[in-house]
Amino acid sequence: MTAVSSDTRVTDERGMLLRLYREIARGRALEDVVHQLVQERSFRGFFHPGRGQEGVQAAVCAALERDDYLLYAHRGLTYLTAKGMDPVEILGDFHGRVVGSTRGLGAGTVHCVDPELGIMGQGGTLGSSFTLSAGLAMASKSLGQTKVACAFFGDGASARGTFLEAGVTAKAWGLPVVWVCENNGWAVSARVQDVQGTSDIAPRARALGFHTQVVDGQDALAVYEAAREAVTQARNGVPAFIEAKTQRIDGHYTGDMQPYRDRDEVAAAKARDPLDLAGARLTELGEDPAALAQIREEARAEMTAADAAARQSPFPDGSRIHEGLWA
């Protein structure tokens, strides 16, 4: 463990914010396409919307290198696009077509994969990323690589026992993990305070000796700076943890009307939309609102085109189920 410079402040705020703005817009545009698929019943599984949390995902991925490992979570898709994944492959997975990253096996919110980009998939049982990311980090270290293993998860998943088991081990071995908790205060219908007796996740990471930061997840730039710091720490052998306080604007899944949730809270969440906040700050910094509209429009166009491309791909036939089990 060498000393770590904590000078992670961004010098070109406007440039970085523009980059993040674009990624948030892209993730959101992709999600809008998926909502469409749900509506037209082209996709009939569960989709867990990420609206409100795209800033965290975009910013952390911006702080990662191309080959750093990513285990994403189930909420939205901005992790994937921000890490560089081809939206055609993502949508191919939703459509269950062979162009999908799983080559027709299908993936809803989880299981998209791109080994070239370090996107190592995701489990449907939440909290499995703690141990897997520790393993990836171990491999990186053992093979003399500099890759960090970044894992996203929610406040709910932070209660899973795997957090503790992987956490003590990551600390003991100085593993390059970056754990990012998107604390949106809810796990489906359960308020974190009600079921975990606290609203704060960071203390449990700090207790294990992780480098720990708590950040406003609606402020993409702040998340980016925290992520830079975390990645630097991790590359130097100090496991890092970020708790991003964020907001789930939509229901748990598309179609969930959130009857269990206060309307005011949802309204407050909407008022702190990370895309809007980044846009407002950019405008303050002199960015032309038309340029921002242009970015959003490009994102929409990109994702619409990606959807059209994905639809060109054939569906697998039934024998697909027998392929790929064994190496």
Binding site: F43, R44, G45, F46, D93, G96, T102, G104, L105, G106, A107, G108, V110, H111, G123, G124, T125, L126, G127, G156, A157, A159, R160, G161, A187, V188, S189, A190, V192, D194, V195, Q196, P259, Y260, F315, P316, G318, R320, I321, H322, L325
Partner: protein, 329 residues
């Protein structure tokens, strides 16, 4: 009030829980979203309002605690109904289900009791993928100390769940998600229980016996209808519980048919059908005129692509053709 309108399998489960919670204050629910939300599949709707947060306990993502906590509460005098959102998640609580729930009583000389139920929604449906579609019946059938219920219709769903809740032993109650909306007439008598270890003949026949349970029963009955038109007479035996297993009803049927097909949704190899086939190959050897056949889920995880799901478990046409071949022996 005689309620003769058909109700769904889902509501039958809800009613069973409601009635037992009403009857016995030590019965309580624990699981994710069972409370305010009424369950991710709506199964526990209304119970939170009726019984409150102490008896309908929402938890975080803590499957170990759900099952292990239920074991602790059970030995402490309560009768927990623990819900995992998907049966696959029960395997996450491996220590708690395989070692604690099943063994705690025995390990301690039989001096403690573990009256608890785990409700485990199982089955392939809805594109929820490899970790949300399993029917891990065999894992627990191979675990001495656990009873297993596998209801195929609303009446059994209610009666078996009530029996399970009153049982002093741990019970895993596999409720198949594909059956939730199926309707049937359910006697409203709150004292009507379906006993464990007593199978039923869901359809009588003379040529081939199909042993099927859970969502495979409707499929078997559908196949039997089709086969009837081809003059193949199928008897469908629904054991209703796997532990205890009613081999006698199977034997009685094979005594008539001399031909046995075991049908299930879980993957074939080392699945629950193996036990039944193995027992037949031993105990019913002299009755059999044909090989014992198994038709079951394919040996692969369930893909998330919904269009691929039907390839992963026995479809009516496959059942028909398998029985047709078997009848030719």
């Amino acid at each position: 009030m005689t309620e003769t309108k058909p109700i769904t399998y889902a509501w039958a489960i809800n009613h069973a829980i409601d009635e037992e919670m009403q009857r016995d204050p030590t019965v309580f629910l624990i699981g994710q979203d069972v409370g305010r939300m009424g369950g991710v599949f709506g199964l526990t709707r209304g119970l939170f309002d009726k019984y409150g947060a102490e008896r309908v306990r929402d938890v975080s993502i803590v499957e170990h605690l759900v099952v292990g906590g239920a074991v602790g509460a059970a030995i402490g005098g309560m009768r927990p109904i623990a819900e995992v959102q998907f049966a696959d998640f029960l395997l996450l609580a491996g220590d708690e289900s395989f070692h604690k729930m099943a063994k705690w009583r025995y390990m301690h000389g039989g001096r403690l009791t573990v009256p608890m139920v785990v409700r485990a929604p199982c089955g392939i449906q809805g594109g929820v993928g490899a970790e949300h579609s399993q029917s891990p019946e065999a894992h627990y059938w191979h675990t001495p100390g656990v009873k297993i219920a596998v209801p195929s219709n609303p009446a059994d769903a209610k009666g078996l769940l009530k029996s399970a809740i009153r049982d002093d032993n741990p019970v895993i109650y596999f409720e198949n998600r594909r059956l939730y909306r199926n309707k049937g007439v359910v006697d409203p008598d709150p004292e009507l229980l379906v006993p464990f270890g007593q199978g039923t003949v869901a359809r009588e026949g003379t040529d081939v016996t199909i042993v099927a349970w859970s969502a495979m029963v409707p499929a078997a009955l559908e196949a039997a209808e089709i086969l009837e038109r081809e003059q193949v007479s199928v008897e469908v035996v629904d054991p209703r519980t796997l532990v205890p297993f009613d081999m006698e009803t199977v034997a009685a049927s094979v005594r008539k048919t001399s031909r046995l097909l075991v049908l299930h949704e879980a993957s074939l190899t080392a699945g629950p059908g193996a036990e039944i086939a193995a027992r037949a190959a031993d105990e019913l050897f002299e009755l059999l005129d044909a090989p014992v056949k198994r038709l079951a889920g394919t040996d692969n995880p369930i893909p998330q692509n919904m269009a691929l799901e039907p390839f992963c478990y026995p479809q009516t046409d496959e059942i028909v053709s398998t029985v047709r071949d078997l009848a030719k022996w």
